[in-house]
């Protein structure tokens, strides 16, 4: 299988005041279609930075990134936003749901950017919520749901426009063991049965066990997996 994500010689430096600090150093990496990759490493090693580059939330200082054959490192802000809407689903540690909207409406938000009618948006969101076993909570607001349930709403939102790639930044970092297992189980189903390619940052070795591959970052470099 060919690589879905191709990262070639990517460096990322943040400019703080007059100083420029490089936090990723010449990284090269292929992620194949259908992979479930766990990205581990100590705090500050650059995991989130790399994930944001893969998800098109930020652009590298140098090097190439292509996803599905498309160079995303060269896209401008608007083009990148449109690309994200069509190709990537995001799942964050703290769910990042919109507090005023019900679960159903939260899941519909990405569909506002599509040409779907209101009825189609409702239907697709309902299907996504069913997939994460939350059809009965569709009309609850985020603060009426548990952390695990909120994260599952976030997963429904991430998959509702059917992206090929899911990026998850410590999706279980704020959850108890049981909720974490539910979320990881769901990601596994999405990977195995729905063919989603997943990149997941995690500190938790048990979470990494659900992945098909694990990579370690240290001080901005990819290191060979410890045996």
């Amino acid at each position: 299988m060919t690589a879905l994500v191709e990262i070639r010689d990517v460096s990322k430096a943040y400019v703080r005041g007059r100083q420029s600090v490089e936090v990723l150093h010449h990284i090269s990496l292929d992620i194949r279609q259908g992979d479930f990759l766990a990205l581990m490493g100590p705090s500050g090693s650059g995991k989130t930075t790399l994930l944001n580059l893969i998800g098109g939330l930020d652009s590298p200082t140098s090097g190439n990134i292509s996803v599905g054959g498309k160079r995303i490192d060269q896209l401008g802000g608007t083009a990148l936003a449109k690309w994200r809407a069509a190709n990537v689903g995001f799942i964050f540690q703290f769910y990042n749901l919109l507090p005023m909207l019900s679960a159903q409406k939260n899941v519909e938000v990405p569909l506002l950017l599509t040409k779907l009618s209101a009825a189609e948006r409702r239907r697709n969101a309902a299907i996504a919520l069913t997939l994460v076993h939350l059809a009965d909570r569709a009309h609850h607001k985020p603060n009426e749901l548990s952390g695990g349930q909120q994260q599952r709403v976030a997963i429904a939102r991430a998959i509702v426009s059917d992206p090929t790639l899911l990026v998850c930044d410590e999706p279980t970092g704020d959850l108890d063991r049981q909720s974490a297992e539910e979320v990881l189980g769901l990601l596994q189903v999405l990977n195995r049965e729905h063919g989603k390619t997943i990149v997941m940052v995690t500190h938790d070795p048990k979470a990494a066990d659900h992945a098909t591959h694990t990579l370690h970052l240290e001080k901005g470099n990819l290191v060979e997996q410890a045996a």
Binding site: R84, F90, L98, P99
Partner: protein, 387 residues
């Protein structure tokens, strides 16, 4: 307009704050609605075409009198059907706060002004009594006057020739009721004989305050006005012939440029409103940074997020402003009616609505621009990391 649900959600986030903001916008636009008609009335020129009554007064100042001899010449002008004239007689009843609108009116005044509803018997009674006055029903009711009562008036300009004092004693010979709601304001007046006034006041005689002209053909009013003003061109009493509305306003204009005063008040109110709502919008965006970053993550463009915040600001102002104008149009006739013709607020016309809406959008845009730009510039990775 599917994005509107996001805007409503943002406004619903802090309900109390949104309601209070809308209320302050409402009050500002209520004031705007009540005052804009006044401002427009004072700034409007008024057109002669189509009016059948015009007022001839001194070109320089409405308090400068015209010679009585001019009346006959005006009457002889082609196109003039009737003329009459009147003088201002300032005064109060018992206490200075009871200022009265008193006019000394010439014979034939009520032929030109059927609006007073003074019938034949009342007119005869008036003509029989040299010191007689007619008073409006609203005014009579306010002070409890009846026909046959003596009416003592403290004149504020004209002393009585006989006594040398400014105290005058009139006899109420009739109380008139305006036949239509439109002319209810006339019921606030006291009318006395011009002839008596002219003979009895200590300052000059033969002075006419203003001449009222009824034209034969309203379509030719402008022409007739020109011909009348030509009579006194280059004399020491040049005239200006104008609509009654303009003439009435020139009384109020003596106080100062009312239009300018009203505009200044509205300006100050809106300046305050913009500071207030501008601060509210800035705060609303500040506390929603993570949500705006999430929207961007999901694929909303920078410009899209800018539009959402902008729309939120405009919607906030338009909601409050529309409610304010609606309230103003409900209150205008009520206030006018309750004042018994003392305060005639013009109804909120199309022009006020249009100006109002333009103002709402403008205020919303001005207030929204900085928060919207902030939302636009927001960098996702920084916002997600809480930086």
């Amino acid at each position: 307009m599917k994005y509107l649900q996001l805007v409503w959600a943002a406004l619903a986030r802090r309900k109390t704050r949104t309601v209070l903001t809308i209320l302050s916008v409402l009050v500002a636009f209520l004031l705007f609605g009540l005052l804009d008609g006044v401002r427009a009335a004072f700034n409007a020129g008024g057109t002669l075409a189509g009016v059948d009554r015009m007022v001839v007064s001194s070109r320089f100042s409405i308090i400068q009198p015209l010679p009585e001899s001019l009346v006959a010449r005006v009457r002889a002008t082609p196109g003039v059907r009737r003329t009459t004239w009147a003088n201002w007689f300032g005064g109060y009843y018992r206490e200075p706060k009871n200022q009265l609108i008193i006019f000394a009116v010439a014979p034939g005044y009520f032929d030109v002004y059927p609006d007073y509803g003074v019938g034949k018997p009342m007119l005869e009674a008036f003509e029989r009594t040299r010191t007689g006055v007619l008073v409006g029903a609203s005014l009579a009711k306010r002070f409890g006057w009846k026909v046959g009562d003596k009416l003592p008036v403290m004149g504020s300009i004209f002393p009585n020739k006989a006594t040398g004092e400014t105290t005058w004693q009139f006899d109420i010979v009739g109380i008139y009721t305006a036949p239509s709601a439109k002319s209810r304001a006339l019921e606030q007046q006291v009318l006395l004989h011009w002839k008596y006034f002219d003979e009895a006041n200590a300052y000059g005689s033969g002075d006419v305050g203003w001449i009222i002209v009824q034209v034969a053909d309203p379509q030719r009013s402008a022409e007739v006005a020109q011909a009348i003003d030509a009579l006194s061109a280059n004399s020491d009493h040049e005239t200006k012939t104008q609509t009654e509305q303009e003439f009435n306003l020139s009384f109020a204009k003596q106080v100062g440029d009312i239009g300018l005063i009203v505009t200044a008040i509205i300006g100050a109110v809106f300046f305050t409103l913009m500071l207030l709502t501008g601060n509210t919008m800035a705060q609303a965006v500040r506390e929603r940074i993570p949500e705006l970053a999430t929207l961007k993550t999901l694929g909303f463009t920078d410009r899209g997020v800018l539009g959402l915040v902008f729309l939120e600001s405009v919607l906030l102002i338009v909601t409050g402003g529309t409610l304010g104008l609606v309230l103003a149009s409900i209150l205008t006739p009520i206030v006018s009616a309750a004042s018994g013709g003392m305060l005639e607020l013009p109804p909120i016309g199309l022009a006020s609505w249009l100006t109002g809406f333009a103002l709402m959008v403008a205020v919303g845009a001005i207030v929204g621009v900085l928060p919207a730009l902030r939302a636009k510039r927001l960098r996702i990775v920084d916002a997600l990391a809480g930086r």
